[in-house]
């Protein structure tokens, strides 16, 4: 997975003179650094750029660009199976996001507040899913469902994804919970709030930026997860990633390019949203998706 460190959401308006001064300084830097940076971005984004470009190809070829057209987007729009898979993936992502955020936040609160030996042990065990190879988790989940006699379906994917995602939410939230001043919750109770009201009215609002950031991260992780989905899904409807994999086995259709480009656009929108969240709370600076800070 990628560790996203997003740049500052603040876009200061800079006078023209200062822009020129900056360009002047940049010119004096070694050209080789600029070249290395360019190469880095080229390698990083070339495959994606190719996919985006060929999604607008008028021909069926994956190597020759025949001119701009929306043909493959139209094909995708009429492909009921792919559309159903997209819907399934969105449903899985939303449910996994809600479920893992709910459980992960509760676990983070519990782990920080419960300072017993058992509590620290639970804190360690919680980290295991992060380092377990996903394929092991996938196979294990499948075997568990089979063993319990549960038929594989969209529901089993949701359960597996929630299990897998809780750790991420908890890791992000735990440092935020630990940084909270315990006197603030006490102050709420001092002012007449019950324990639950204190959590709801004071603690959760203080955690909201981190909660939203982890929700966006989990949505993105689950949406493009393949391994876990592959092992725990039923036959119909399959999640989008599994469907694309199946489709490629019978030869790559350019429709896949269109789907990929749409997913890319969706991801960009999500990242923009993640950048917008801290602004919503009047915070300056960037948002580190992993720490929620």
């Amino acid at each position: 997975m990628t560790l996203l460190k997003l740049p500052s959401a603040k876009a200061p308006t800079r006078p023209a003179a200062r822009t020129r001064a900056r360009r002047g300084r940049a010119d004096r830097r070694p050209r080789v650094l600029i070249a290395v940076t360019a190469l880095f971005f080229l390698l990083l984004y070339l495959p994606i750029a190719v996919v985006a470009l060929f999604s607008f190809n008028s021909k069926k070829s994956l190597t020759v660009f025949g001119g701009f057209s929306l043909r493959w987007y139209r094909t995708f729009a009429h492909d009921d199976v792919l559309i159903a898979s997209l819907g399934t993936s969105l449903r899985i992502s939303l449910v996994a996001m809600a479920g893992s955020v709910l459980l992960g936040v509760a676990l983070a609160l519990g782990l920080v507040r419960c300072r017993t030996r058992l509590g620290s042990l639970a804190g360690l065990i919680m980290l295991v899913p992060l380092i377990t190879p996903e394929i092991v988790t996938g196979v294990a989940s499948m075997l568990l469902f089979k063993g319990l006699g549960v038929a594989l379906s969209t529901g089993t994917v949701m359960l597996a994804e929630i299990t897998f995602s809780i750790s991420y939410v908890t890791v992000i939230l735990r440092s935020r919970v630990a940084a909270l001043n315990p006197e603030v919750e006490e102050a709420a109770m001092d002012l007449g709030a019950t324990r639950w009201q204190a959590v709801r009215l004071v603690t959760l609002p203080a955690l909201l930026p981190a909660v939203l950031a982890s929700a966006v991260l989990i949505f993105a992780l689950v949406f493009d997860d393949f391994v876990l989905a592959y092992f725990t899904t039923g036959v119909d409807p399959q999640p989008l990633s599994v469907r694309i994999y199946s489709a490629i086995r019978f030869g790559v259709q350019p429709t896949i390019n269109a789907v990929g480009t749409l997913m890319l656009a969706g991801s960009i929108c999500l990242i923009a949203l993640a950048l917008f969240i801290p602004r919503l709370f009047g915070r300056r600076g960037g948002l580190d998706i992993l720490s929620g800070e």
């Binding site: 001043n181 006197e183 603030v184 006490e186 102050a187 709420a188 109770m189 001092d190 002012l191 007449g192 709030a193 019950t194 324990r195 009201q197 009215l201 004071v202 609002p205 203080a206 909201l208 709370f281 009047g282």
Partner: protein, 356 residues
């Protein structure tokens, strides 16, 4: 005098593992008083406050508020409010909403909330900042918000946990005066925790000096300063020139140095080891009166500090006394002695305190 104290602690203890943070505390706090719990860090003063507030359960004893046993009640069911050391403001709420928090929980009508919050912000001089967020305020302003947020609920008792500790000295002095004025204005019982003896002396109606989970002495600021009951109180409250010696027939023979006349004490047996204390400002360097105890010592150092000068006088090897003198025109430093000179000093016998 109202017979029912606003706060009463009956044999209250708080035990952590095998040590006592608070040990069998008995304490009455009279309604309308500005009461200070004073002591060094770790003496149990904050734990005591937290037990009154309901944030910490005593392992023994009872907490009574206005005669009612509240030991088992959670904080939200007690008619007290707290100003926390960290202020503990709600950062996601505006100043108005912070102050209105308690009234909203109680279900007070909206118009009434608006009126009372407005009044309270005026009292603490924050009326221009009602819509700001706590993060945008200075330390002193945040302190006022915390105070307003607690006071607006009109609690029977307001608990303050070192509320001025985070402020710089000048602001602190100003807030001491203001806090005392506000307390007089609203007439609410204040229980104030501090480790700063000056703060306790200037603000309090009564002070309880705590040490190692116990109350060493409880009394008015004057009582505590002028008549410390124990060695700890004498040394904690300002400079006390503690000297050790043996009591015998109205005199204390110092371990190092001469015998000091202290007057007969029926409560102290001959031959017991005692401490003697004379406050620096009670020692005279000139214009002696008849009946004073007079001694000689060697001037070791002179510390000039604006309105006053402190002379360090060695009475005997290892026994150095601090003597504080007003810098009046007749006592200019350069007119006086230089280091190493033998000087005469004295005190009224009643200012020489014997501490068992």
């Amino acid at each position: 005098m109202d017979a029912t104290p606003a706060v009463r602690l009956e044999g209250v203890s708080k035990q952590f593992a095998d040590s006592y943070a608070v040990h069998h505390l008995d304490l009455d706090i009279e309604a309308g008083h500005f009461f200070s719990l004073l002591g060094p860090s770790g003496c149990g003063k904050t734990t005591s406050l937290r037990m009154i507030g309901g944030f910490s359960d005593p392992t023994e004893g009872s907490v009574l508020l206005a005669g009612e046993d509240v030991t088992a009640l959670p904080p939200n069911k007690r008619n007290v409010n707290t100003v926390f050391q960290s202020y503990a403001l709600f950062d996601h709420l505006s100043i108005t909403d912070n102050v209105a928090f308690g009234l909203k929980r109680k279900g007070v009508a909206k118009a009434e909330i608006r009126r009372r919050v407005g009044e309270m912000l005026e009292l603490v001089q924050l009326d221009g900042l009602a819509d700001r967020k706590p993060r945008t305020l200075s330390g002193g302003q945040r302190q006022r918000v915390a105070l307003a947020r607690a006071l607006v609920n009109r609690p029977a008792v307001l608990l303050l946990d070192e509320p001025l500790a985070a402020l710089d000295l000048k602001l602190r002095r100003q807030m001491q005066v203001e806090l005392k004025q506000i307390q007089r204005e609203v007439g609410i019982t204040f229980v104030f925790v501090t480790h700063d003896q000056d703060e306790a002396l200037t603000m309090s109606d009564r002070i309880a000096v705590m040490n190692k989970g116990r109350i060493e002495q409880c009394g008015t600021p004057e009582d505590i300063y002028e008549h410390p009951a124990t060695r700890f109180v004498a040394s904690f409250m300002g400079t006390s020139n503690l000297m050790t010696g043996t009591y015998r027939g109205g005199e204390v023979a110092l371990d190092q140095g001469p015998a000091l006349a202290v007057g007969p004490r029926s409560d102290i047996a001959d031959g017991s080891a005692v401490s003697v204390s004379v406050r620096p400002e009670k020692i005279w360097l000139s214009d002696f009166e008849p009946g004073m105890s007079k001694l000689r010592g060697v001037l070791r150092d002179t510390v000039y500090s604006g309105p006053t000068t402190t002379y360090l006088i060695e009475l005997a090897p290892g026994v150095t006394l601090s003597v504080l003198e007003q810098n009046t025109a007749r006592a200019r430093m350069e007119d006086r002695w230089s280091g190493g000179e033998s000087v005469e000093f004295g005190w009224r016998p009643e200012h020489c305190l014997v501490l068992a």
